[in-house]
């Protein structure tokens, strides 16, 4: 997954406030408890659209192929993570992004 290069650091304090780093955003989300609520919302949406059932089916198929006693949690995570990330519906992504933006706007200094 390639992201565009980060913007060059500025000495202008205002600009730094305008573009909080990903880390800062994440910490803000976790400390306020918003991240937990967002995760709950995400779980609900993914359940509704059948994504969770799809992942379960992938896990079952993989386990059947390799044999029940030859599969670890780590294996399953490695196998389904890329497929899982790729198959999240755009509507879900959009909704969560919107929520995060709204949260940041409401807590802006």
């Amino acid at each position: 997954m390639s992201r565009p290069p980060p913007p060059p650091p500025t000495t202008n304090k205002d600009q730094q406030h305008q573009n909080p780093s990903l880390q800062e955003i994440n910490i803000k989300l976790i400390q306020s408890g918003e991240k937990e609520r967002l995760k709950e919302l995400l779980r609900e949406r993914l359940l509704e659209c059948g994504w969770i059932d799809e992942m379960k089916a992938l896990c079952r198929a993989f386990t059947r192929k390799k044999g029940r006693n030859n599969v670890t949690v780590d294996d399953l995570v490695h196998v389904i993570s890329p497929k899982g990330r790729a198959s999240v519906p755009n509507s879900v992504k959009a909704e969560l992004l919107q929520r995060i933006r709204a949260f940041l706007a409401s807590t802006a200094d």
């Binding site: 994440n26 976790i30 089916a57 670890t72």
Partner: protein
Amino acid sequence: MCLRSSSYTSPKPCKHLADCKLRHAFDGYDSLQNCLKTTPIGRTRVDNHNTKIPRCNFCNGYLGRLYICLMCSSISCSTHILLHTQSKSGHDVAIDIERSELYCCLCCDQVYDPDFDKVVVSEQIKGSCPGRSNKRRRLDSGMELDLKKSKRLIAMRDGRAKSCYPLGLRGLNNLGNTCFMNSVLQALLHAPPLRNYFLSDHHNRDECKRRYGEKLCLLCEIGALVSAMFSGDRSPYSPAQFLYSWWQHSSNLASYEEQDAHEFFISVLDGIHEKESKVRNSSKDDGDCQCIAHRAFSGSLRSDVTCTICGFTSTTYDPCVDVSLNLDTVNLSAAEKTGLSTLSGCLNLFTRAERLGSDSKLHCQNCQELRDTSKQLSISRLPLVLCLHIKRFEHSLIRKTSRKIDQYLQFPFALDMTPYLSSSIVRSRFGNRIFAFECENSDSSAEYEIFAVIAHSGMLESGHYVTYLHVNHQWYKCDDAWICEVDEGIVRASQCYMLFYVQKLLYYKANKDLSCNASVESR
């Protein structure tokens, strides 16, 4: 369509976990108790009460899965957890911070320990105290079926059998849009508990007339019907007397219009119950009622309403004689089969936790405020005969229209109801745990076999009902007056409206008894 295994066997701890427990007994778990925090929806995480967010000791990362070592409480991410084990001997087991699940760093896999789960689950329960009904309702499993008597009755009439079909199969004449009645009667009369009850003459018609006079009695009518069906006479029977009696009981439905088979089913059970409660002069609630209708069909549904803010759950139990299911058209899994609706999908939908809208907030006892809630249904007690009703007729009050949903529904012949039991549903709230639920219903089986299917074809106003019966390992189609053998494929492909399952043990016993005494010339 993968059903969860009904045998809940505890996985053995891995070598490393076992060693760890031997060396440190429960040291690791005791300190854990103060560090657990349960969210309202039931996920338990490890919370160190630090203001700082947990980060990996090696890379300072805070994303992905983080583990806290059972021995030294140091935190590592999934990439670096192995480094921690390698650097400190004996530090093999850790806890997934977000999920409160044990992880063995050497096996690279989740491991299970009942003692650990006990600590986690008791912490989760502390937060929410469900209002439990302490009445352990036990099904009267010692039902007096009196099969010996019924065997005799069948054997007596054997000589008159004209065809090779098993006894009890007889067509019912359509008396004017009465296929809704014929289809339900065929299913009811072949439900093992009901069939045996009437064949054993448990409701003696002469005695009933003697005590209550010529007043209408649905039980007498059904008894007469059963006798006629099992008489050995194969010519189609006209249930006119029964129809007349039923009209008197449910006068609001008395007409020559096509009725809803499910509605008819409910009214017949109601009629049986009414008479029974008059006889016994009792007003017992449905759960403990001993009338044949309730003994056969009565089960109990559990409803849990949870406050999404504090997690407080209030539980209520309601008796039911059937389960009405919505079709799972919304939540179809693309990976398994495109566009296929399944019975397990419908049952999953039925038992799914559902967020009630913000416009229907309820008062939470704990918060003392109106709150958003989540509701979840499950089956706390299974009936002997399980009737599943598929809601195909949609009535919209807003648009004042009704329509029929033709969506094909795939259903199994053997059904395991374990995943939909309260014990399973409640257990799943605690996550992936080995935990014995207190009111585990180990005395009654959750395995069912299908014996009847009522299928509907056509449109809402001008449709037709037929019943498929499974008798002696053969499927028969009962289309009003016409009975014929059909292939099981036909049954599977039919548009099911009501499904009738009976507890497996009863099914095999019932079939054994019938086949022993069925006429000699049967295939």
